[in-house]
Symmetry: C2
Subunit: 340 residues, 2 copies
DNA sequence: TCTGGCACTCGGATAATCGGAGTGCCAACT
DNA sequence: AGTTGGCACTCCGATTATCCGAGTGCCAGA
């Protein structure tokens, strides 16, 4: 049975432990928080909380430390997002508004997020998969060499160099340009790739080969989800504040190198909800000591990617959650604007 | 006076210390290296080397540790680059050949370099400043909205969205496209920016405003050296092997966040020579415990950027130098090929 | 159900001890 | 002059011993 006061005690334990990084005892608790009861009472509650698995004693005669389960309860029931201060809101707005292109938005977001939370921040680049084709440009560099440029609605630009078997003249290329754009402009890339596949059938015979080559490259670029896997990482210096190096820092540093791992951490579930993954809840047993606060972003429920922070299970959840949500909102808005 | 044998002793000390991370004593030295003399003799030499400032005793009755000056001598006089193994050469070649675009080349290089050296690797993106304009593309998205795409010889693509005051039709834009390309294709961007400045004077009166707007954006993009400051970092997990956290790891982690700092570390001197900066020789006093092995890259003495590794002063210089040089060569070659 | 009291536990900080690797120096040897 | 074995000495770091106190569980009384 977990009544209200026990929850208060749990909240107090979490807050104190996060702040001090040391097991918290009954006496210190009643002093620092106005619980209105005696240490002995708190001790009883603590014993109960421990029975339920919410807190844990490193050893007899030590204070209590929240378990993952304890943090979970804290996050689910007890945490009220710390509202961002006006100054912080302004900082977010001005910093992100100053971004000149997509790369810049991502870079600035990571930096911002890591500074706000003093944690390691991760921002996934907007995925190609759900974006639409804004424009395709074909440029004749030499008669047999075409530069193919694919511009997507998110602002991402993909470019490929194509070597043709037969020379092409400018007017031919212009026809082709019109054709590919008609077939794909405004269409989601998956559909665009499909639409383009039939295109070579419709062109003049002597252009078929060239068209086919170009279309192939285009669909390849469209279905190349390599860039879906791109992420930006920042704030690693914050790892330095971690206490335990071997169990906490090293595995995380290793994870940060592996972008695939990071994406899994962010949880590319496709949902835009703010999610918190605590310790062992995550997919990697080596990262049992780290938590992830993440959310999707994208204009109007349209999931373009995820961003979040990772840190020790002992982290400031309310603050991190608020920061992550705030940054995600601003990023979504920026991307939306650039997309009109 | 530093005779040959003393140099041998120094080399042995450096090698042993790098390998073991512990002060090395006279006895261990003669055992591990076939010096052919007795420990007592080595001790005499050590005393001399210490007088000269090449090595240093953490405390009486401890072994010796090389000083920065000692490493310097080692690197200048004693180090013979460890040749890359055939397997390593092949790994470099295949990995880098698989790169699909500029970003990919850089990403792969960082990864490669960090794995080869087991250090933190840094690769600067090719600078805009010395590259030439390959092509400029203007795309009419709406009558008053133009997407400007700038393609450079290094494969970098810059794109900007331009809002025009007056609507423009396709044929007008085509004229403009021809004009800007004629003015700038094949020209170094600094010169191209200058050449473009005069261009609006030559166009038809009703286009002047649009031309001016577009040209402004272009020269801005050309002189926007923001991307000159881009660097990729990899292998931070290797920091975990460092012993001393506070003095070695934390300052470096902080430095890695600051790309400007990194560029200074790489030494954007413009020279392509392989340089080694040891400990205090570098520009940052907080990084007195770290060394940098860096070199420029770019096809045929044409400096496009720098790459290198950073690590503790106690690092495997011969190995790192060889790896850095090898990777730089391959990167240069790749960039050259993509540039034909 | 809460509270004050009390005996008990145990980790971590502090102090004390000890061994050994390494040194410098010197006298003898080549 | 350069090299070597011997030897007394130093001092770090690992090991062990000691001790303090925060924190606990439990119980009896309000």
């Amino acid at each position: 049975m977990v009544d209200d006061r026990k929850l208060d005690v749990l909240r107090a334990i979490v807050e104190d432990y996060v702040a001090t990084e040391e097991p918290v005892g009954s006496k210190a608790l009643v002093e620092r928080h106005g619980l209105g009861v005696s240490p002995a009472t708190v001790r009883n509650d603590m014993a109960a909380l421990e029975d339920e698995g919410y807190i844990h004693q490193p050893h007899t005669s030590a204070g209590r430390v929240p378990t993952d389960k304890g943090y979970r309860l804290f996050v689910d029931k007890l945490a009220t997002l710390k509202p961002m201060s006006a100054a912080e809101r302004r900082a977010i707005a001005t910093l992100l508004d100053g971004a000149v292109d997509l790369d810049d938005v991502v870079q600035r977001s990571v930096r911002l997020l890591s500074q706000l939370t003093r944690q390691v921040a991760i921002v996934q680049y907007p995925t190609l998969s759900r974006s639409t084709v804004r424009h395709i440009e074909l440029v004749l560099l030499t008669p047999t060499r075409v530069m193919v440029i694919l511009i997507l609605s998110t602002g991402r630009v993909e470019q490929r160099l194509v070597e043709l078997d037969a020379p092409l003249v400018d007017t031919d290329l212009a026809e082709l340009r019109v054709a590919v754009n008609q077939a794909s402009a405004g269409v989601q890339i998956a559909a665009a790739a499909a639409a383009l596949a039939d295109l070579p059938d419709g062109v003049r015979p002597e252009q078929v080969d060239s068209a086919r080559t170009i279309v192939n490259v285009l669909s390849e670029a469209m279905s190349d989800h390599r860039s879906d896997e791109r992420v930006a990482v920042g704030g690693t210096a914050n790892l330095a504040r971690y206490g335990d190096f071997e169990t906490a820092v090293r595995p995380l540093l290793e994870a940060l190198e592996e972008h695939v791992v990071l994406l899994k951490l962010l949880g590319e579930s496709g949902t835009d909800a703010l999610t918190v993954r605590i310790g062992h809840e995550g997919p990697y047993s080596e990262l049992a000591a780290t938590s992830v606060v993440a959310t999707g972003y994208g204009p109007q429920e349209f999931h373009l990617g995820s961003l979040g922070v990772v840190g020790p299970t002992r982290m400031d959840y309310p603050g991190s959650m608020a920061a992550v949500r705030a940054v995600a909102r601003y990023v979504s808005r920026i991307l939306d604007e650039g997309n009109q």
